[in-house]
């Protein structure tokens, strides 16, 4: 079972603000379920693009009805990969859950692209839900849950990003960058 969702949004900020906000988006008041974020790896490739791999941990957010199948979930690990091209002012991001993948695997692909003419940054997201789980009507439940979860998540993460963007914009304007 595979489901795709797409979403697009335009931020009225430049690429520096948007990308810096994305990389520093936790903590924010809209993502209190996020416990930690760590950089596992980073390098700059021969084309001058910056690559980073991060590990994010969250408190368990799978629905109640999954519990009989999984037992108690207290944490989940998310892997995030980003690729930033400073020349074209583009950032690609990829996230996916590392555990409970037998029940559900959620992968999110996002592209942030700066538009010089409009001085805005367009954010395009695609989320893929896949589940190998069969029987007991679980597939339908997962589909329903994914739907509502997606809307809720995308709106929350956007609010969180906007919150961090405003904060970063203020700091960039006042050059108090040392403690972003």
């Amino acid at each position: 079972m595979v489901l795709w969702y797409k979403n697009q949004h335009i931020f009225n900020h430049d690429f520096t603000t948007v990308s810096l906000a994305y990389l520093n988006r936790y903590p924010n008041p809209y993502s209190t379920h996020v416990l930690s974020i760590d950089t596992l790896n980073r390098h700059i490739d021969k084309d001058g693009k910056l690559h980073q791999t991060k590990l994010i941990t969250k408190t368990g957010r799978l629905p109640q009805w999954v519990k009989p199948f999984l037992g108690k979930i207290s944490h989940s690990n998310i892997l995030e990969m980003t690729e930033i091209d400073p020349v074209s002012q583009t950032m690609n991001t990829y996230t996916r859950n590392l555990d409970h993948t037998r029940i559900i695997r959620i992968e999110e692909y996002t592209t942030f692209q700066y538009d010089k003419e409009c001085q805005t940054t367009t954010c395009k997201s695609k989320v893929k839900f896949s589940s190998g789980f069969r029987g007991f009507g679980v597939k339908n439940r997962i589909e329903k849950w994914s739907h509502s979860k997606f809307d809720e998540n995308i709106s929350k993460s956007r609010q969180g990003l906007k919150f961090v963007m405003e904060n970063i914009k203020y700091r960039l304007n006042n050059r108090t960058l040392s403690n972003i």
């Binding site: 596992l40 700059i44 403690n179």
Partner: protein, 87 residues
């Protein structure tokens, strides 16, 4: 973000992580995005932070799972998926 900085998964590494993150943010904004530097200038801080983090991941048995997943190359796949869907 607020004034609080994010936590490391390993509480003992949070301080090292915050030092590295601050250095990274300045380098990213003032050098990398400006095309002034292709070298991450926070090497020393990175080494300290990474050493601390790796020890934790190994101790908790998370490291193999993380390494295995990180081998995927999602961006190439992504490019393909996107161009297919645009048509």
């Amino acid at each position: 973000m607020g004034n609080a900085m994010s936590q490391s998964v390993a509480p003992e590494c949070t301080e090292l992580k915050n030092k590295y993150d601050s250095c990274f943010n300045s380098w990213y904004t003032d050098k990398f995005l400006q095309g002034k530097s292709l070298q991450n200038e926070c090497e020393g801080l990175w080494d300290d932070y990474r050493e601390c983090l790796e020890a934790y991941l190994i101790k908790k048995g998370i490291k193999p799972m993380v390494d295995e997943t990180a081998k995927d190359a999602p961006f190439e796949e992504k490019g393909e998926l996107q161009s297919k869907e645009k048509k």
